[in-house]
């Protein structure tokens, strides 16, 4: 996109317009409109009093016409000046806003690419502005990419599920453990983890931990947690990864050999994983025969997902992480949806937007929220969402790991 403008020029133009409005208002006042009307009216009275010897009725008529025209001119001018003054100030205000935006962007450009993430850290709102401007063109761009075979999960690809050996694990103690699990699964290509929680009373709950983006290549590869999945989830709230996660939960629940339809299920993930968690929680096919009580996201754009009232959602967002802002919508606060927005002190990565998105940072944030060390939106209650899945002594955890891969539907020999 070509951009050439000096913000100070725009601000200068705004001053010109504002001064133009003030000068016009002053000029109208100096014309003494009230006096003009009064003096003219007096002339009208004098004309009405003219008799035949003063020039006759025709003269009186012509003067009356002139008086009426002057009064009309003054009234019309008053309206024109008021309207034009508003218009000039309005354009001036728009110019000032534009100057501020360009100045902020220039600030970023001056910082250079090496300083871009520091700039985003200091100006996280820019990601939101960008999203508002970019999203309308994202569709055509992704469409263009489709033509080259990029960012598109074509129908000749399927997701394959490879179960790993189930093993005993540790039941999560709280929010931090849940987020840490999402970060952990993101380290292994294609991994999705279903944790079967068997409580002391024999009841079960199911925790589905979903990986974030692992492969940033534009062409869809074998790992379904890639940039193509990001594009598909954002564009149409579906991805092969979501299908694979559904298959994994189906397999794990089937192995339990009991009726699991009333067992609470929590889908959870960081970044892309959070979007997949919401995709599943909003998908009737995934919900059918299951009780999806909650979804947990960290560092994910959450706008546009339509979650049923029976499912509670908790979303963690760092104020200086640009990724959750990429949907261009405000943080969601709804009866069944709580977004915790926090601005913790910079982590080991310093004042960096990239570091702010890091999964480990979100796990640390969750720990801080639990201990009270990190302040957040004070009236946000997220405990009810995760309560069925954490902190019950004596709970067994059976970990079912699966590796998902994208494969050709009809393998060529």
């Amino acid at each position: 996109m070509k951009t050439r403008v000096a913000p100070e020029d725009l601000a200068g133009a705004a001053v010109l317009l504002d001064r133009g409005a003030s000068a016009m208002e002053d000029a109208f006042a100096r014309g003494r409109p009230a006096t003009t009307t009064a003096v003219t009216a007096a002339a009208g009275v004098r004309a009405a009093a003219l008799g035949p010897l003063d020039g006759g009725f025709e003269t009186a008529y012509r003067r009356g016409q002139a008086v009426a025209a002057i009064e009309r001119d003054v009234a019309v001018l008053a309206g024109m000046v008021a309207a034009e003054s508003l218009a000039l100030h309005g354009v001036g205000t728009s110019l000032r806003q534009a100057a501020r935006v360009y100045a902020a962007v220039e600030d970023g450009v001056r910082a250079g690419l090496s300083g871009l993430d520091r700039f985003l850290y200091d100006h996280p709102e820019v990601a939101e502005w960008g999203a508002r401007g970019i999203l309308p063109v994202a569709g055509p761009l992704v469409g263009l990419a489709d033509g080259w075979g990029f960012l598109n999960e074509r129908t000749d690809r399927v997701v394959a599920l490879k179960p790993l050996a189930a093993r005993e694990g540790r039941a999560p103690a709280g929010l931090a453990d849940l987020v840490a699990e999402d970060v952990e699964v993101s380290k292994t290509p294609g991994l999705v983890r279903v944790t079967e929680l068997i409580r002391p009373d024999g009841s079960r709950a199911w925790l589905v931990s979903i990986s974030g983006t692992q492969d940033w290549g534009l062409a869809p590869g074998s790992d379904p947690f890639d940039a193509t999945a990001d594009a598909n989830v954002i564009r149409q709230h579906s991805a092969a990864a979501a299908i694979g996660v559904n298959l994994a939960l189906l397999d794990a629940q089937g192995r339990a050999g009991v009726d699991t339809s009333a067992d609470p299920v929590l889908t959870s993930g960081h970044s892309l994983g959070g979007m997949v968690a919401l995709t599943l929680a909003s998908e009737p096919g995934f919900r059918h025969g299951r009780t999806i009580t909650g979804a947990l996201t960290s560092g994910s754009p959450t706008g546009g997902f339509d979650i049923p009232d029976s499912t509670r959602v908790v979303s963690l967002e760092k104020l200086r992480d640009p990724v959750p802002r990429l949907d261009g919508t405000p943080a969601r606060q709804e009866p069944n949806w709580r977004t915790i927005v926090a601005d913790p002190a910079p982590g080991p990565g310093g004042r960096s937007a990239v570091a702010e998105h890091d999964g480990a940072g979100y796990a640390a944030l969750a720990r801080g929220l639990e201990s009270g060390a990190v302040p957040s939106s004070t009236d946000v209650d997220w405990h009810a969402t995760i309560e069925p899945f954490v902190g019950q002594p004596g709970t067994r955890a059976i970990v079912h790991d699966y590796v998902l891969t994208r494969e050709w539907q009809n393998p060529r020999s």
Partner: protein, 76 residues
């Protein structure tokens, strides 16, 4: 009558001021601006300048009517 002429003179000066200011507003078009938001900028500024010129013309016309009325009174 003198008062009408005096008012007419005042409106004439106001018209000159507004016309001159409209010219200054038009000079804001000289800003180089290529990028988001620039699409309508030049035409918007030109419209505003033209509107101010129309106001100046209306003030001129008002001054003329006041002079005309003064002339009618003088001829009475």
């Amino acid at each position: 009558m003198n008062e009408l002429l005096h008012l007419a003179h005042g409106w004439q000066q106001c018209a000159d001021d507004v016309r001159s200011r409209a010219h200054l507003v038009r000079s804001a078009r000289a800003v180089t601006w290529e990028g988001p938001g620039a699409t309508n900028y030049h035409s918007v500024v030109e419209d505003r300048s033209n509107a101010m010129t129309a106001i100046a013309d209306r003030m001129d016309a008002l001054a003329g009517r006041l002079r005309g009325l003064a002339a009618l009174e003088r001829g009475a």
